[in-house]
């Protein structure tokens, strides 16, 4: 009856199945500028979840009649590689990836200085290479890096992470098995490490008090992501002093 293969307990002695504490995030890593043909690119990893993002633009926006004469228009496409999940998924778009493309675009739109490049478009492409839950969060983090690498002007970076409830307990950074058998899943993104939520999607039954607690924990997670993003961008160019050119 019910879901096949659920482990008896997801938390034991305050440790999760992969050994993490309740507020521990998986190991994160970022690469900047991995796709040479793109104007900007980046990857982001939460443990086994691995997202790649490439940015093309600003470039002339087509079709012309949909151009905005005063602003840059962001287009975002989120897809999952067919080999990214245990069961192969059909390549291309699904209703889920269309929805995620939309909410990703809306989060990034919050910080891009669209008035700096009127009549243009920027394509943000996100491909999930390996999925172990929190894929949209990894995608948004990679896209933020890619936009900065491309020189698209932004108020700040967008940082995203997930918070869950498993076995009645609130945890940070939901992993695959926790996503399958948990009770609540919350994906959020903030502007930098500020109290400004630009992405929020929640599934599962919970009280208002639990929700407020999850938001607080989520903000801490986003702050950690933000710090990693900043360091990764700096490290890419930190190779000695530059000679004077003026």
């Amino acid at each position: 009856m019910g879901k096949v293969g659920k482990p008896e307990k997801l938390i034991e002695n305050n440790k999760r199945l992969d050994g993490r504490g309740l507020e521990d995030m998986r190991e994160m890593s970022i690469e900047v500028g991995v796709i040479k043909k793109a104007l900007g690119s980046g990857t982001f990893r939460f443990g086994e979840t691995y997202a790649l993002s490439a940015v093309y633009g600003p470039k002339p926006f087509h079709p012309r009649f949909l151009q905005d004469p005063q602003k840059l228009v962001l287009k975002c496409k989120y897809t999952m590689a067919p080999f990214s999940t245990t069961e192969r998924i059909r390549p291309g778009y699904s209703r889920r990836s269309i929805e995620i493309s939309k909410v990703t675009r809306l989060s990034l739109n919050n910080v891009v200085f669209t008035e700096d490049y009127p009549r243009t478009g920027v394509d943000v492409l996100i491909e999930i290479m390996q999925a172990d839950a929190s894929t949209r969060c990894a995608g948004i983090n990679a896209a933020s890096i890619a936009l900065a690498d491309a020189g698209v002007p932004m108020k700040d970076l967008i940082a995203s992470c997930s918070v869950g409830v498993i076995d009645g307990t609130i945890i940070l950074d939901v992993g695959g098995i926790e996503d399958n058998y948990g009770e609540v899943d919350l994906a959020i993104a903030t502007v930098a490490d500020q109290d400004k939520f630009v992405l929020l999607q929640l599934d599962g039954i919970l009280t208002k008090e639990q929700f407020m607690e999850m938001l607080e924990l989520g903000k801490k997670g986003c702050a950690k992501v933000y710090e990693m993003q900043k360091n990764a961008l700096r490290e890419k160019y930190q190779t000695g002093d530059l000679d004077d050119t003026e």
């Binding site: 600003p58 470039k59 002007p153 108020k155 970076l157 900043k230 000695g240």
Partner: protein, 233 residues
């Protein structure tokens, strides 16, 4: 991040310090944001990944990447992409195309009923022109009314990231002069990242330009370039 009195005016970064979008570069109302920066309340913050540039009260950023946005006065290398009866559309390696009107391209009177303007500039021609003006919605006008402006023929064209152009030119033109002399080439560097090379050792010059683009942020670049040029083709 800053808990101390934000009303105090102070610069928080050093000249040429590497900054990322959202970094606070200065606090206080005495400073003004220039290219690449914005003001949020009483803080000046970075919009781009780049190097801080402090000039008197202006705080700006030299970007490390990004597309070319034309500014009046820029010298650019462009390609004639299309034409109408009295104007040409020029591809300037930017999200924005530029317009060159007959009056800004040809000094003499032209009777367009008798002459097709393609006799002056035709589709596919390469020109070095000056940006005359850029409107708020980024409509760009070029002019050939400048002593440096001309049609460029033969030689080869290479493209570099526009933000690396100052590095390629070097302090008072020192870097580009070095390459020109060692390769015996004419080299014209457009602010838009398009470089035209014509002369004896075009291949070597191309390699030098590419090396500068790749290693613009690495120290000892001048020495590496000198070494490359002296090894010859």
């Amino acid at each position: 991040m800053e808990e101390n009195k934000d009303t105090e005016s102070q610069v928080l970064v050093k000249e040429r310090e590497l900054v990322t979008p959202g970094d606070v570069l200065a606090t206080g109302l005495d400073f003004l944001p220039s290219s690449g920066c914005y003001r949020e309340n009483n803080k000046i913050k970075a919009k781009l990944l780049g190097l801080a540039k402090i000039k008197n009260r202006f705080i700006g950023i030299i970007p490390l990447s990004g597309v070319y946005v034309p500014r009046p006065g820029d010298g650019i290398v462009g390609f004639v992409k299309d034409m109408q009866s009295t104007s040409w559309i020029i591809d300037i390696n930017s999200p924005y195309d530029a317009l060159l009107v007959l009056g800004e391209a040809v000094g003499e009177f032209v009777d367009i009923t008798k002459r097709d303007i393609s006799v002056y500039y035709d589709i596919g021609d390469v020109i070095y022109a000056k940006v005359l003006n850029v409107t708020k919605s980024k409509h760009v006008q070029l002019t050939m009314n400048d002593h440096r402006a001309k049609k460029l023929s033969d030689g080869r064209i290479i493209k570099i990231t526009p933000s690396k152009v100052p590095r390629l030119i070097g302090k008072q033109g020192s870097m580009i002069e070095l390459i020109k002399n060692e390769t015996k080439c004419q080299i014209i560097v457009g602010q838009n990242g398009i470089v035209w090379i014509r002369g004896e050792k075009e291949g070597l010059a191309t390699r030098a330009v590419k090396m500068i683009e790749q290693e613009s942020h690495v120290s000892g670049l001048t020495d590496n370039i000198t070494e490359l040029l002296q090894k010859g083709e």
